[in-house]
Assembly symmetry: C3
Homo-oligomer: 335 residues x 3
């Protein structure tokens, strides 16, 4: 495996193999599998789960890792191409990325969307400009448009809780948040649920439609795998018989990069906070999922988050197991 | 071992076993003992020794660790219960702690006292609210009221320097410091010295009495182990024949949480800086101990700290060995 | 090996052995060589390559490391000797260094020049004051005047690209930079190239002569190893037939510690940015080297840095391999 960037790059069999491997490594540790192997971790955006779970994953497989992030006492990293570097930054990403990668057997990179230009972010321009600089295998630890480690962990979580693939009802719901958030999680989660063959509903207020390309990719995946995809602005309609609600806030497509416009649009949607009444007509075991971090009382009520519906901690732990499977395939003896 | 939180939770035999194990691991390394095992380290308060020594300890036993602290580029952690999270913090400790713990085989947590309310801190409310969220074994890396890793290291240090248990004279002395400091080290050190069966004197100026509950716990431990406990405001009286002086500043109990009141009370006690004349009537080999960090020229004079009495570096190294013993028992094959 | 501080401390045979070992470890990994061994890493100055490559090196040899730097949530480290610590810093370097070292089997220390007093920095006073506090082996990770890890990596890079030792033409060129930079890299690089027996030219504008002691040390090394050393202010003259140009900015000797004086002197030298025309009369395969980080468009043009002459990424990766050799010798079973 040369790259782990998008579940769409893998066949159903390959995804199943990763899920099986994640389960096997959970039950049967392999502390010698990656002995002496190094994972380079470059964080250009904040992290907690990703930071912790990748380090833990490498240790459990007998290897190790190191972390570089701009909040460390490093020299300041310039990312703009073609610039004369006479300002504060002493190092350019064009050297930093290949150098960091050269110390690892693989590199993980996190770089959130800039959210200035939709086309730029949809093409994952910044992330791709960095991976083009490296010859080692690489892992997308969340880019402008993708979060495949979260996606694989979510797939495993759905399996663990025996949510049906075909016939399973999955609601991806927009939720209120004080700030405009990136598309990476909603876009790649939507694809993942559709790819798993579920009947997927995007629940969101007017104005928070996801970009066409994201909807199209998910719709195609649903069609090819026996699932379906629809949109709704009506909570009761969307939640009817739902097995899972996956909450996530995202920025509006039409005001992409326009903070004030987005802000004005989201005003008045404070009631998009997932709470018990949402589950009235859902499947009685309907689960609550979220990639975390999540704002209590804003995105979801305390009683849902602390109650039996919430499987967010299990979901977060699966990040480590999913990544162990990826690392094992990428760097293991049989890779 | 499910928790390492307070030496009071362990029998004398169990403490001796940990001390023996620490010595054995120092002489006979076991670099495969914790192969593939992960220690999660959560620092909500500053650290140097604890941060370094736990990472070193896990490496020496063949495992690994990861560190999460709010100074990293993470999302900002909210600790207040029941809050609507519409401010700066994007993550709540109620998710962060169980998630971080789920990546480890054990978790170490550091959270200093808030020092607003004495009862709140004496009950170790904040630390306990976090450990209640985890199912993995946990280690107290210094809470409002406890510092058991320091205590075990100190016990080993007293053994290493052949300070008598019964009959050994131990002085815990208040020292001047520009700021009001937590009770964790004085409280748990006092208990440890008493538990070891020594004759313990708390030397401190008027107004800096330790809380009754702390004195009572130590007095009971002394009584049960052939030692004694008394207080003194008189330096010569306290130091008579002393084998060890352990210096530490702490906040006043009566002005707990009242910075100005505490500040006013400590003014004029700048001469509570341990210096050579203090040792005039002590045992001629009387040792100087401190948990570090220590302010030179404020808590202790340079000549004492750099002289032969000081065993603070040896004491600090014992942190690593004591913690290796704890980790070995907690996570090793025979645990 | 008790210290790795200066290539001048090692015989030619010892250096060759380290280079051979670096090559061997690159081809034949030894993931058990330093099992359970710990490297303490103390960064008092910023770092990226050193930070990453030492952690990677220890992992590849089966050991581990931990990092302490003042940007972490530690207690603030005082470095001034003899001070009464009643200010912000709660810890003195005199405790911090031996404590950190005591957790490792070796310690690496980075502390850039203060650049207030030339004699102070030339004597490496600050670095030596710290290493005097430790009993473990230590590694210079860049001090006021030395950067031996970079030097050994550079030597390996010259070998890798088959730059002749005797007869090889090496140009160390001053380059423009908005700020006055330390002497560690130019001084130790100059010595290294001379020690390798090359014909070395220091190319720099008037006013940027290197200190006499640095020139003398390099001249002696050249003489003893069949090389030569000269200075030039003339680009064409210096570059004639050159096999390597090593660019680096440094502060002026005569305005050492005088920011304004140095600033005024370097104004007008913005054209000391290595660019293609510099190579007109060089050997046609003339390589471009730099220790990184490097300012694009300031120290070197984009077309040189991104072109085939540049071997800076290879050079940076050699940091890891050179350090693996040092660590293997310092901490390995046969050491």
């Amino acid at each position: 495996m040369k790259a782990f960037n998008d579940l769409a790059d893998f066949s159903n069999e390959e995804i199943q193999k990763l899920l099986d491997l994640a389960n096997r490594l959970d039950k049967h540790p392999e502390p010698d599998a990656l002995k002496g192997k190094v994972l380079a971790l470059l964080f250009l955006s904040p992290s907690l789960r990703t930071l912790a779970s990748f380090q833990a994953a490498m240790t459990r497989l007998g290897g190790g890792s190191f972390v570089i992030s701009p909040d460390m006492s490093i020299h300041g990293i310039e990312t703009r191409p073609g610039i004369v570097m006479d300002g504060a930054a002493a190092e350019h990403i064009r050297e930093a990325v290949p150098v960091i990668a050269s110390y690892g057997d693989a590199i993980g990179i996190r770089a959130f969307a800039e959210r200035r230009n939709l086309d730029y972010d949809m093409a994952d321009t910044e992330f791709n400009s960095m991976t083009q600089l490296v010859t080692t295998p690489y892992i997308n630890m969340e880019s402008a448009i993708g979060h495949p480690c979260q996606n694989l962990a979510d797939w495993k979580t759905l399996d663990d809780y025996e949510v049906p693939a075909n016939g399973g009802k999955f609601v991806l719901s927009w939720a209120y948040h004080p700030r405009a958030l990136p598309l990476a999680v909603p876009a790649s989660t939507l694809y993942t649920a559709a790819r798993r063959g579920m009947d997927v509903t995007v629940l969101r207020p007017e104005g928070f439609e996801l970009p066409d390309a994201i909807m199209r990719k998910a719709r195609d995946a649903a069609a090819a795998n026996g699932g379906s995809l629809r949109e709704s602005t009506d909570r009761r309609d969307a939640m009817q018989g739902a097995h899972v609600i996956y909450a996530k806030s995202w920025s509006s497509t039409r005001f992409y990069g326009d903070k004030l416009g987005d802000q004005k649009l989201r005003e008045g949607f404070e009631d998009w906070c997932v709470d018990e009444p949402w589950f009235d007509n859902a499947d009685k075991n309907c689960h609550f999922m979220h990639c975390l971090p999540v704002r209590r009382g804003v995105v979801v009520s305390e009683r849902v988050l602390d109650g039996p519906r919430s499987i967010v901690i299990h979901e977060a732990r699966n990040r480590m197991l999913a990544q162990m499977a990826v690392l094992h395939q990428m760097l293991g003896a049989s890779s």
